[in-house]
Amino acid sequence: MSLITFGLGAIAVLILWGITGWIKRNQIKLSWPSWLGVILTALLALFTVAWLLSCIIERETQAAGMGLLIFGALALIGFGLTRKKIIKDTKSQAKGK
């Protein structure tokens, strides 16, 4: 269990590192709904990974699969919507410049 917690912590750091790096490189200024989308999607993705690993440890393969399907799908939807919003933000910023 402590290994899972460590792994999840590492993934969370990597996600945050990746997002902040990408924002800095592209000089994007995110609106608050975009930030909210990023945070919620990241949390959902982490939840999916944590669920998957916990169910595998428990040897509940069906629960692992169903979790991946449902929570993973929700994370993908969140990712799609957030991406769309960020693109919209960057376009409006470019127009402003």
Binding site: M1, A50, W51, S54, C55, I57, E58, E60, T61, Q62, A63, M66, G67
Partner: protein, 423 residues
């Protein structure tokens, strides 16, 4: 009426808060002093005669015995030995798990009183160890109980309502009578002391083996639970006696267990008629220690199980003999083995025991299928938090999701076959 309205309007916020606090406190005090259990108990509820319990009926209710014996197909029972989960290897594990119970509490699982570990009158220390107060004594008894192997422990005052009005004991020493029927005696329980407090103890049963229900391997999980019951119960009673106070442990004999466990705050009563604990769900066995030592009782606790059971019927669906009702709670059951007068779901113990006989071992499908039966992992604790919300549609959805995700599967032959392969 108008005066009342005027008075109410005149109350300022501070007065209103004072009155509310007073009303809440007095309400809470009233609730704890009269009926400690959150279960509705009516005057119709009387002390039960142990002779009417489903196990004891096998000593005297020949019609019932004949009925359940007639449903057993000997040929299929012999063929069962080739089925994974019932092989001689599986049965050997079952037998080994029960060994301590059979050696030190022989027959107690079927209700036989006064067996070795559950003896009433064992010697105690002459000089009493004094405690600061009942709260101090409770804290130390609980600490010792956990150290001695209890997974959960709670304390409640002794209530004679839950002790059988008469006990029944098979006389093993005398020969069966001319009809080949067992000899037994009945007597009113007269304890060597007046019990004041009850230490209710829950023993966890193994999650993985319990999930193999109904099979001999699941029987091993149950048997190990019983063996630990007599070991922990006897040890806790010995600890109290070593402090100079009289005490004895009892399992399925002498008294009902669930009312004490509920009153002691170990959990709630479920649709399947068993205790549901927040920690292990119904996957526990119960042993009680009666003592003359005055202890501070715990309060009953509700964590949403009763409400959840109203909307979840997973145990009823998983029951191979349809012994668990799917309707609303009632005040009486269908058989003489149900003690009426308590608002609950009355299972049909005759159907249940008949399936045990046909199955060649016991059955724990209702325990396995219960959504509260989960190992202590974060995602289950999160679900338990959601389940505690008193919102009926959420309960129904959570029960469906639990099934959808594959938790609580029963009759899993592959898992039984894989048992000996896993390290």
């Amino acid at each position: 009426m108008n005066n009342n309205v005027k008075t109410a309007i005149k109350l300022d916020r501070r007065q209103f808060l004072k009155i509310s606090a007073l009303a809440t406190t007095s309400g809470a005090l009233m609730g704890t002093s009269e009926n400690r259990s959150p279960i509705k108990i009516t005057n119709k509820c009387q002390r039960m005669d142990q002779k009417n319990t489903i196990f004891s009926r096998q000593l005297w209710d020949y019609e019932f015995v004949k009925r359940i014996e007639s449903s057993i197909d000997r040929a299929s029972m012999e063929a069962l030995e080739k089925v994974k989960g019932w092989t001689p290897l599986d049965q050997a594990l079952d037998q080994a798990a029960w060994a301590l119970d059979h050696k030190f509490a022989s027959g107690s699982e079927g209700g036989q009183p006064h067996s070795q570990a559950y003896e009433w009158d064992e010697p105690k220390r002459r000089k009493k160890v004094e405690f600061q107060n009942p709260k101090d004594a409770s804290r130390k008894i609980k600490k010792a109980a956990r150290y001695l192997g209890a997974n959960l422990v709670g304390i409640t005052p002794y209530d004679p309502l839950w002790t059988y009005s008469r006990l029944i004991k098979e006389n093993f020493e005398s020969e069966p009578n001319s009809d080949g029927k067992p000899e037994f005696e009945q007597f009113v329980p007269e304890f060597p002391f007046e019990p004041k407090s009850v230490v209710a103890i829950a023993i966890e049963m193994d999650y993985e083996t319990m999930a193999l229900s109904p099979s001999s391997l699941e029987g091993a999980a149950t048997g190990l639970g019983y063996s630990r019951m007599c070991s922990v119960g006897y040890s806790v009673a010995t600890f109290i006696r070593a402090l100079g106070y009289r005490a004895f442990a009892n399992g399925n004999d002498v008294s009902l267990s669930i009312p004490y466990a509920v009153a002691a705050g170990l959990g709630e009563l479920g649709r399947h008629g068993m205790l549901i604990t927040p920690e292990y769900g119904p996957r526990v066995r119960l042993v009680k220690v009666f003592t003359e030592l005055e202890l501070k009782p715990d309060n009953p606790k509700a964590f949403g199980a009763w409400e959840f059971c109203k909307n979840c019927k997973r145990c009823a669906d998983a029951c191979p003999s349809q012994a668990i009702p799917t309707g609303e709670p009632t005040l009486e059951g269908k058989t003489i083995s149900n003690n009426p007068g308590v608002l609950k779901w009355y299972i049909d113990p005759e159907k249940c025991i008949q399936f045990w006989r046909e199955n060649g071992t016991d059955c724990a499908n209702c325990i396995t299928a219960c959504p509260f039966n989960k190992p202590p992992m974060w995602h289950h604790q999160l679900s338990a938090g959601i389940v505690a919300l008193p919102i009926a549609p959420i309960h129904a959805i959570m029960a469906k999701m639990d099934k959808f995700f594959g938790f609580g599967d029963v009759n899993d032959r592959r898992a039984n076959a894989a048992f000996w392969e896993k390290d």
